[in-house]
Structures are given as C-alpha cells and as structure tokens.
C-alpha cells in the first residue's frame, strides 16, 4: 500500500497541480471566473475548423494506415518466410524514433532538396524539383502512416495468428468462399483488433505535434500545434489553456473507449495457427507486395537520412558531424550542438532511474488490492495528456512558489518521467502479475523471506520487464519533443530541440548538421530498440 505513495505524490505535484493551474489560467485568468476565452472559442469558426482539421487528418491517417496494414497483417499471420521475425521486429523501429528524426528523414528522401528530387532532376535534366510535398497535407499523412503502420500490423497480425483456424474452416465447410469468407467470417473475427488498432492510430495522430509543426505550415494546425503557437508566439495563455483542456477531455474519452476495446483483444501467448510458406503465385505476389510496401515506407526514408548526412555534392563527407562540435558566431544556439547529446544522455539516464523507481513502486501498488482501482485511472490521465500540454502546464505552474523550478534543469527529467511512466508500468506490471503466487510461497516454505525473497525470486522474474521499462524510459526521454520545446533552457537544450532549431534555419550547413544529429539520435534509439526487442522476445508486456 505504501508503495503507491511516491507515485501519488509525484503525480499530484507534477501532473495534477500543473493541470489545475491550466484550468485556472483558462477559466480565471485574472484571478476571478472569466469565461470570455472559452466563449470566444465556441463562437469562432476558426477553432471549429481547427478541430475539424485535427479530426479529419487523424481519420485520414487511420484509414490509410489500415488500408496498408490489413493486407500485410494477413500475410504475416498466414505465411512463413525467412527473416519474418526480424522483419516484424524491425518494423517496430519507427515507434521509438523521435518525430524530429523522422521529419528530417522524410525531408532527406522526398523534400525539395531530398534524394529523390535530386535524382529526378539529374536524370531528367529538370530545373525545378518535380516532387513538391513539403508543407502539404500529403507528407503529414505519409509520415503518420510511417509511424503507425507497424503498430496496426503488429496488433492485427498477432490477434489474427492467435485465432483458432477451425473457425475459418467451419465457415468454409458451411460454404463461405472468396469475399463472403472475408465479409462474414474473417472481418467479424478481427473486428476488435481492427477497431483497437484504428483507435490507437487515431489517438496518436490526433495529438500529432512534431510532424505537423515541422513538415506542415500554419494552415495545417492540429489542436496540439495551435496550443504551442498560441502559448509561445501569440502569448494568448488563456486560449492555449482552453484548447489544452478541450484536447485533454477528448483524449480521455478516446482512451476510455480504447481501454474497453483492448479488453476484448486478449492475445493468447501460444498461437494455435500454423503459418506456412506461400505456394500459389497469388500468395507469393501478396507477400512480395507487402514486403515492398514495408521497405519503401519504413526503410527508404531512414536510409535517405543516413545517405544525406554523409554526402556532400555527391561525395562522402564527415563535415556535418565535425561541425557539430563548433559554435560559429551568429548561430542561434548558445552551445555547440554536440553538447546537446551530452545533455540528452544525462536527462535520459535521470528519467530512466526516476521512471524505474516510481514505475516499479507503482506496479507493486497496482499489483493487487483496493489501491489499484483508483490508482489505475489516475495513472491513465498523463497518458491522455499530450506532451505539449504537460510542458505548457509546467511553465504556468512551476515558475512560482510553492514549486519554483522554472530555471532548474530537473524540470526536463521530471516531464520526461511523466511521459515515460505509463510505459514503465506497462512493462513491469504484467511481469509482476505473471509470477504465480506459489513461487514466493515455495520460497518462503524453503526459508526465504524479506529481502532475500525479493532478490532471489521476484527480482529475477521481473528483470526482463524492468529492462524493457528502463530502456523505454530512456528512449522516450531521448526523443521527447513537445514538452522539451517548452521547458528546455536555452543553454541546456536536448537533441530534438536542437534538431528542430537547425531545421528551421536557412543554409546547407545547418540542414546538414540537423541530419547528422538525427543520425546520432536514430543510432541511440535503434540501439535501445534492439535491447527492448531482445528482452521482450520472451513476452514481457506489449501494447
């Protein structure tokens, strides 16, 4: 019971208090109730359009993602082929990649001065780049699909593979065939998985921030981006706060619906369905098409990023990387970009330790008992609150007594821990709950108790969950963008913040440095990701 206390205090001080301050800023900006901000919001058609765009782009992204992921899920659930496990694991890589890195990667591939345009201009002798996707809705949607394709693929494919094949066989013996088999048997069986995946993708895209901010333009503003603009460029804090509250409410509703659906998508660990090698030409074609989609969508941009970071005028160069150590006069940065790597590493390790400590304590508190019932939804709240809202809440609430941390560097690890905490808990809790009660009982009968019981029996059994949670926290911190943009001090920026600033500056060197820094960040995240996959392969937590 006592183990729930640190998490409770942490959430009260660094989540509930800032969010309540947001409410106060929105509804009572001058210290007394003033609903004019909220009223203006309801009256203005601009903000209805804003909400409309946010929903529409999320819905479109979801549809596109499902359209690509569903056929691939079929292929992955049914067919066996060399390297399938590796490919499925690699496909999850985007999930841990920071938005700034992905934005840089897509600009390196299909941006106006990207690899593809360069090649086309070279071969077709064009003066102008033929592909003009920067600052269009299309590129936002493409990047959203990049992020969510593998999430949907994994959710649907694993659910599909866990379904008993005899259901479909029964449908066939009863005469279902072709489209009728899909319509009457397969899709209804998959319904909870498809709905769950769709909702998750929708939630991710609904709060999309970095992608829209970097690759879009002012007329493409999601709620999240608008909160940031109103707060930082226009200094309209009451309005930004009101938008935050609206977004939080909508998100919490979506999360509750998602939790309801997720309960139906319980995937058995042992999959009864046997995948086989594709035989008929149509099956092989389906497999080939699926692999082609994965490669072009997932790996081409990342390859382009690496190529662009290491080439200059057609030849190999390390100039961009070398430039990371210098800080020329007139730069918008206070310090050489490379120091940001050090900052980010320190923040990430602090986040990892704090997240692990609080997350493990929370997992023990949640494991059983009455506490779990009211701590569970409380812990879900930060998940429903976007990073931008958190960062915004921090600068409003934590810059004056009782908690004056505005100029303190601890703000960043604290914010990152809030974002990472649900991931840590979701990694540790299943491992903890999976320990059969007979094991600690057996150890006690054999003479173990207290510390030795925990160290010799429980700790080794949850070690994998702890590793996964720790690496998740580390990765989340390395890539966190929305909250850091608000609270990072000018002299101690994080890597994503520096990449964002460099991308926003003119000049090939700035751009090249952004790419170089992105490659470094991608490398760190990929390394962390490999660690997660290796520890998770024996089944510690999933989404």
């Amino acid at each position: 019971m006592l183990l729930g206390l640190p998490v409770f205090l942490f959430l009260t001080a660094f989540y509930v208090y800032p969010i309540l301050s947001l409410f106060a800023a929105s509804l009572a900006p001058e210290g007394r109730l003033d609903l004019s901000g909220a009223a203006a919001l309801v009256d203005s058609p601009y903000y209805l359009r804003l909400l409309g765009f946010t929903v529409a782009q999320a819905a479109l992204s979801t549809l596109l993602t499902l359209a690509l992921a569903l056929p691939s899920a079929y292929v992955f659930a049914r067919f066996d082929f060399g390297g399938k496990r590796l490919l499925l694991a690699l496909a999850t890589l985007p999930f841990v990649l920071p938005t700034v890195v992905v934005a840089a990667a897509f600009s390196a591939l299909i941006g106006e001065s990207g690899l593809l345009n360069e090649a086309l201009m070279g071969t077709l002798s064009l003066v102008e780049p033929p592909i003009r996707l920067e600052r269009t809705l299309a590129i936002i949607l493409i990047v959203h699909v990049f992020y969510n394709y593998s999430v949907a693929l994994r959710l649907i494919a694993s659910f599909w593979a866990s379904q008993s094949p005899s259901i479909e066989e029964a449908g066939r013996t009863l005469g279902a065939h072709g489209w009728r088999l899909w319509w009457h048997v397969r899709l209804p069986i998959l319904r909870p998985a498809i709905l769950g995946a769709a909702l998750l993708v929708f939630i991710f895209c609904f709060t999309s921030f970095g992608v829209v901010l970097i690759l879009g333009e002012p007329r493409f503003a999601t709620l999240e981006v608008e909160i940031y603009r109103q707060a930082t460029s226009l200094f309209n804090l009451p309005l930004a706060a009101a938008l935050s509250i609206i977004q939080m409410g909508l998100m919490y509703l979506l999360m509750i619906v998602y939790a309801g659906i997720q309960r139906q998508v319980v995937v058995e660990l042992r999959s009864p369905q046997q995948a086989r090698t594709p035989q008929r030409p149509a099956e092989r074609a389906a497999l080939a098409a699926s692999l082609l989609v994965m490669f072009t969508l997932l790996f081409a941009p990342l390859l382009a990023l690496i190529v662009r970071a290491f080439t200059l005028g057609g030849g190999f160069t390390l100039r961009y990387f070398a430039a990371l150590n210098s800080n020329p006069r007139g730069s918008i940065l206070f310090t050489p970009p490379m120091t940001a790597v050090g900052n980010s590493l320190v923040f990430a390790i602090a986040t990892m330790l704090l997240g692990l400590l609080l997350g493990t304590a929370a997992a023990y508190a949640l494991r059983r008992g009455r506490l779990a019932r009211w701590l569970d939804p409380l812990l879900m709240l930060p998940l429903a609150t976007s990073a931008v809202t958190l960062g915004f809440g921090f600068i409003i609430a934590l810059d004056e007594p009782p908690l004056n941390l505005r100029s303190s560097v601890v703000l960043i690890p604290i914010a990152h821990t809030l974002v990472a905490l649900p991931f840590v808990i979701r990694s540790v809790l299943p491992a903890l709950r999976a320990i059969p009660p007979a094991l600690p009982d057996a150890a006690r009968v054999l003479g173990a108790h207290g510390w030795s019981l925990w160290r010799r029996v429980e700790l080794p059994l949850i070690a994998r969950g702890l590793i996964v949670g720790a690496v998740f926290a580390f990765t989340v911190s390395m890539g966190e963008f929305g909250a850091s943009l608000f609270i990072a001090r000018p002299d101690t920026p994080t890597v994503p913040v520096v990449i964002f600033r460099l991308l926003g500056q003119p000049g090939a060197l700035n751009y090249g440095q952004a790419l170089a820094l992105s490659v470094i960040l991608m490398g760190v995240c990929a390394l962390a990701f490999i660690l997660i996959e290796r520890s998770r392969s024996l089944g510690a937590g999933d989404f």
Partner: protein, 353 residues
Amino acid sequence: MQAQTEEVAYLQVRGITKRFGGRAVLSGIDLAVDSGEIICLLGPSGCGKTTLLRVIAGLEAPEEGGVFLSGASVADQPVHQRGFGLMFQDHALFPHLSIADNITFGLKMRGASAEEQRARVVELLELIDLAGYERRDPATLSGGEKQRVALARSLAPSPSLLMLDEPLGALDGILRQRLMADLRRIIKQIGLTAIYVTHDRQEAFATADRIAVMNAGRIEQVAAPQDLYRRPATAFAAQFIGLRNVFPVISMRDGRAATIAGEFAVQTIPDAILIHPGGIRLSEATRQCGQVLPGKIGDMTFAGSTYQVQVTLTSGVSLWLELSSYSAPPPQVGAEVSIEIEPDAVIPMGTPQ
C-alpha cells in the same frame, strides 16, 4: 484433555478455524499425525484441504486453534522458520534457476556450505532417478520429471514434516500410477512424516497410512484405507470413495431405520444406510429363500476388472453391485436375477463429528 493422557502425537492440529471473507473454510479441525506416518487429506475441491495444509505450513494464519509439533506450538514461528517441506500443486519450480539451484534453494537459505549443497544435489537426484540433471532448465523437463524435482527440492533441507498438495494433479494415466508408488516408497524410505492432499481416492488408497476424509471445512472420518473402504462412517465419505447404495433414513421405528430400500435393525440413530456393493451377491434367479431378493438387471457398465451392475428389485429400488469381469459372462440387461445381501454389508451412516 486427550492429548495430556499418554503419548503426544508428533504433529497435532487442534481446533483450527479459518475464514475467508466471513465464510468459514475450516471449522474446528482436529487431527493427529504420528511420526513416520503418511496421512492423506481426501476431499472434493473447495473442502478446505489445501487451506489446512497452508495453515500448517504457516502460509495462512488461523482465526482459532493451533498447530503443535511434538507438543510445542509453532504459532510464533513464521513460515520460513518452521522447517516444513511443501510440494505445490503445479510444482512451482523457480523458472530462473537450474535444477541444482532449485534443489539447493532451501539449503542456501539456511546457510549450508557449497560442499554440502553439492553433495545433497547428487544424492537427491539419484534418489529421484534424475542423476545428471543438475544444469538443466526446469522448462525443459516433462511433467513427471518436474514433479520429482519438486519432491527433491522439498526434501533437500531435511524437513521435519513433508506436505504434498495434489502432487500428481497435473499428470495423467500410467505415469500417475507409477509415481504414486514411487512417492510412497521414497517417503517411507526416508522415514518422513507426511501430509498428502488429494481429491483422488485411488491416490489416497495407494499412498496413505491413514486417510482423513474432508467435506465443507470439516474432517468426517479418519481411518486406514482398508477400514475406510470397508466401513465408511458418513454418507459423504461413502459416496466420495465411490460407494453407491446410500439410502437416507426416512424414519425410525422400534430400533429399525426405514429407508426406501427397506427397514434395517440399527443400534444408533443413523442419517442413512449404506448397502456395501461388495457385500451384495448375484444368485440364481430360481432360488428363493430368506435374504434373497428378486429383481431385474436395469443397467450395466463395464469398468475393466469389474462390471458395475444395477439391479432393480421388484420393490422398485435399485442397488449397485460389482461382478468380476475376468471369467464371468457379461450380465444381460433385462435378465431376471436375485440378489443376496450379507448382514455385514448393511452399514449405518452417522453424522459428521
């Protein structure tokens, strides 16, 4: 009281009551186990037998009553200090430890030397016939092997009492039969006092010196297996060990208990009358004298070594009896027969203590 008379039993359970959420799972359990004895707690799931085991082990604290070892209460010893062995239902082998580390876990906890640990592993693996398994991973073992390793692990610290909770529950068929015999042999060989929990009467018969039949949180009868089978004391005990022909007593008249199967002379006032299937004989249909009752074969089940035969008497009452199947021709359903009931086979069933 009784305990203070001559000799005190090795393990005594006195007046144990345990409630979960207001519901009594154990109500006033008394049990005495002699040194070197294997006692079996036999009963259906939910009767409280596992809870009783956990109370004795110290994993659960009783609301009332106590556990005494050689006359001394163990109430102030927490589970890890009692020095009892407990074998869990699904083995509960530590998945992160090798077979050898599983077996030495208890020795390590009491600070045994590495030397001693190594020697004990070799000795125990030999005893359970798994020599050379030291470095294996529990996940690679078969069900029977896991069961034996679990036994070795609970034996390793030389417990003063061994408890086994449905140790063969997860196993099937022939393996089960062999392991029953193995378990009894190994426990007897070491001379351990053991409490063995099971819901399977065959297992109880095969392993126990005495059986305690449990029902709804109470012990209904404690008896040697043969005595339990021959003379069960309560209707529940009779039915649970597979005896049919239990007839509730409807009324008492002049020292005779009336049931739908007829009236029987009794000494006490019983709840029910058992007509033991073993004491009913099928006789020639034509002979008609004294104890012989005419009837018709109503149903028949082939059960391997026996036929279970249901005879419907002319009074309409049905009785089950057993026929050896080895030499006799199969009884024909519908055939006219007569049955003969031995006087000994009529057993009055009492109320649980």
